[in-house]
């Protein structure tokens, strides 16, 4: 099996008629995900690609199709509303791809998500994939291969890099999760580490972080106390100049905390093997697996 998504996932796409929404709804469908509904306010009653019913509201989509996951492509000014709408309907998994949501919007959304049964992945993320079963997101499917390695990362393209290194070395993936680079997001490194640690079909996992914040340190602390599975890590931004934002609001150096060096130290202290080069993430995991076998 895997975490969060599998063959039983019934996907809704919020913003299915926009350029990106349409392109990636097709990408998910073509990968094998059951895309059962779309939502675009004002276009209820129409069909997407002549097959997928479009609704005006998530409420109607849920009632009519029993969708249990949603992928959000709603533009930034309306994306927070889209997340809240999905949470209000109790959609179990909410994956928000949208980039550029104001922090204050996410601050309020986060308050709701704390008490919601829904799980939010993102925003500003590539999504989540269980290779061979289902994908909810914008990642290129062909680089993945079904298997038993988990991947969690803040960055989209760096996740692809790690996945490609694993696949090229014959190591398949159980589930790959891009949690997004924004300062306030739904699912953390720690949440994913916990899911991978508990998943009987994940043997080991890669944790990819960036400078800024303390999410990687928190995951490391939990792994140290609770997880026996082999873990490898990479932290991007060791050479970033201090005080400059690097695209993701998250990728920022903050005083003594949140530096690549501080993160690396916390990870090493937790028994996690840390790769110095982004090209060696796959190799480092192989070493971590070998070390645990001894």
């Amino acid at each position: 099996m895997s975490v969060l998504i599998d063959k039983n996932t019934r996907l809704l796409v919020q913003g299915i008629t926009g350029n990106s929404g349409a392109f990636h709804a097709r990408g998910c469908r073509d990968y094998g995900t059951s895309v059962v509904a779309g939502v675009t306010p004002g276009k209820g009653g129409q069909k997407f690609d002549d097959t997928i019913p479009i609704f005006d509201t998530v409420h109607e989509a849920r009632e009519a199709t029993g969708c249990n996951a949603t992928m959000i492509f709603v533009p930034p000014p309306f994306a927070a509303d889209g997340i809240l709408e999905a949470a209000d309907e109790g959609i179990e998994l909410i994956v928000c791809i949208t980039e550029g949501i104001p922090v204050t919007d996410m601050m309020r959304v986060n308050q709701v998500m704390c008490y919601s049964k829904s799980r939010l992945i993102g925003p500003n993320c590539p999504g989540i994939i269980t290779p061979g079963a289902a994908k909810i997101g914008i990642m290129p499917g062909y680089i993945h291969k079904p298997g038993r390695i988990g991947v969690v990362s803040r960055s989209g393209t760096l996740t692809y890099e790690a996945v490609w290194q694993l696949t090229s070395r014959g190591l398949g993936q159980s589930t790959c999760i891009g949690i997004g680079g924004d300062p306030i997001n739904g699912t953390s490194h720690l949440d994913c580490a916990r899911m991978f640690a508990e998943d009987p079909d994940t043997d080991a996992f890669i944790l990819i972080g960036e400078i800024g914040g303390t999410a990687e340190e928190e995951a490391a602390e939990w792994i140290k106390a609770n997880c026996d599975k082999p873990v490898a890590a990479f932290i991007a931004g060791a050479t970033a100049p201090p005080g400059r934002r690097m695209g993701h609001a998250g990728a920022i150096i903050s005083g003594g905390k949140g530096t690549a060096a501080a993160k690396k130290e916390a990870l090493l202290d937790a028994g996690i093997l840390v790769s110095d080069s982004p090209a060696d993430m796959g190799e480092t995991l192989i070493k971590a697996i070998a070390a645990k076998k001894r």
Binding site: N110, T157, G243, G255
Partner: protein, 424 residues
């Protein structure tokens, strides 16, 4: 004590005193900065008490502003996006970007010495910054200086107020040597600032009686400004108690959440592009996320994480990146072409590395953009290209048949080694 969601929140927010201003600035730094006179305009709009003042672009305007303010007790302040103005020196030899004046004539003379001149401070670098405007403000008699800031704290996912009775001086040093003097207070994301919190902060920095009442007004207004303007940080240093018992914001630094600027056209209008790196201004016209650095290897990458990792691996193999450039997820050919042009315009650049892992971004789009740019600019620099991901075969085929002289790389390490060798 209130409303923290996790033990990490508690740890970060309460147990560990947050360090000083540089910490916050670095933590939240983004492109959009404003001048002191513009900060003053925001203070006035939201009712944060601040000394009266007017901005002037010419010496004559400075004279008129001084007359309007009543001549006596005027301060003339050079307006640049950098600290340390008072101790700075102009390239024409004139000392100090902040001066007192007792008459309109003196204010006019001081403004004349500053306007159009280049001011060098410890924050501007040796090249300095040109002063295009001066602020003419009422000077105040200061009894005591405080520090007050509000920032969006990602660890606790809420605004945090930072206050100290040790204001005016270098707050970083206070944080380091006397962390107990820095008071941090988390604000509930939906309840907002509560009156009891304001009173508690006031008492913790030693304000009582009428001054406590005055502080309540300052902080309530400042919090409203912070939230309603989508600031990521607002820092008042110093907040002053005057000899006649007022609490006033003297100087301020603002950072805004770039993602929220679409709903603040008034703040966008405050942007002063003459204060920014021209390469970054040029890149921002095409929605490219570019940060100029000092090395000689230009990089074009999609995704901030991979872009940072690409810089890391260049350094790991002995090279120096000339920039950070994230072309984003959905760039078109035109954006790629413009990105390429901006990279090539940096005279330090000796070699270029393109590293694309296509997701939303399609490799053939990148390839076509590179080909167009190279043909238009007559590319003469060594170019190493590593493509992977969506439509990679089409992308490689386009590059191969383009007749461009380029080096293809098979993976990230290969790409880094080749570009570092080419730049030597």
């Amino acid at each position: 004590m209130m409303l923290h969601t996790s033990k990490f929140a508690l740890h970060t927010c309460l147990d560990t005193p947050l360090p000083g201003s540089k910490y916050f600035t670095a933590f939240l730094s983004n492109h959009m900065n404003i001048h002191e006179y513009q900060a003053k305009e925001l203070f006035v709009k939201f009712g944060v008490p601040t000394p009266a003042g007017q901005v002037a672009s010419t010496a004559a305007e400075a004279k008129a502003a001084a007359l309007a303010l009543g001549e006596a007790g005027i301060v003339v302040k050079a307006q640049v996006h950098a600290g340390g103005r008072g101790k700075g020196t102009f390239k024409n030899g004139f000392k100090g970007g902040v001066h007192l004046a007792d008459s309109a004539a003196k204010a006019e003379e001081l403004a004349g010495n500053m306007l159009g001149q280049v001011l060098v401070t410890h924050q501007t670098g040796p090249e300095g910054k040109q002063v295009n405007k001066v602020l003419i403000a009422k000077s105040v008699d200061i009894k005591k200086e405080y520090y007050l800031a509000i920032l969006m704290d990602r660890a606790t996912r809420r605004p945090v107020i930072v206050a100290s009775a040790e204001g005016g001086v270098n707050i970083e040093e206070v944080a380091e040597h006397n962390p107990g003097a820095i008071i941090t207070t988390g604000i509930h994301p939906t309840l907002g600032l509560q009156s009891f919190q304001t009173r508690k902060i006031a008492r913790q920095i030693g304000l009582g009686g009428d001054k406590l009442r005055a502080f309540e007004k300052v902080l309530a207004s400042l919090y409203r400004l912070f939230l309603e303007s989508d600031c990521s940080m607002v820092e008042i240093n110093p907040l002053v108690e005057t000899t006649d018992g007022q609490i006033l914001a003297l100087d301020a630094k603002f950072n805004f959440d770039d993602n929220a600027l679409y709903r603040h056209s008034d703040i966008v209008a405050m942007r002063d592009i003459t204060e920014e790196d021209p390469r970054e201004v040029e890149a921002s016209k095409f929605n490219l996320n570019y940060i100029g650095l000092d090395g000689n290897i230009a990089c074009m990458v999609n995704g901030a994480g991979l872009a940072m990792a690409t810089m890391d691996i260049i350094k790991l193999h002995g090279g120096e990146p000339a920039n950070f450039l994230d072309v984003g997820g959905g760039a078109n050919e035109e954006q790629v072409k413009q990105a390429f042009r901006i990279l090539c315009s940096d005279p330090n650049v000796k070699a270029i590395l393109v590293n694309i892992f296509g997701g939303i971004m399609k490799c053939d789009v990148i390839a076509q953009g590179i080909i167009n740019a190279a043909k238009e600019t007559g590319l003469s620099l060594p170019l190493v290209v590593r493509l992977e991901g969506t439509n990679v075969e089409q992308g490689r085929a386009l590059l191969n048949s383009s007749g461009l002289k380029l080096t293809a790389a098979t993976d990230l390490t290969d790409a880094a080694l080749k570009v570092v060798a080419a730049a030597k």
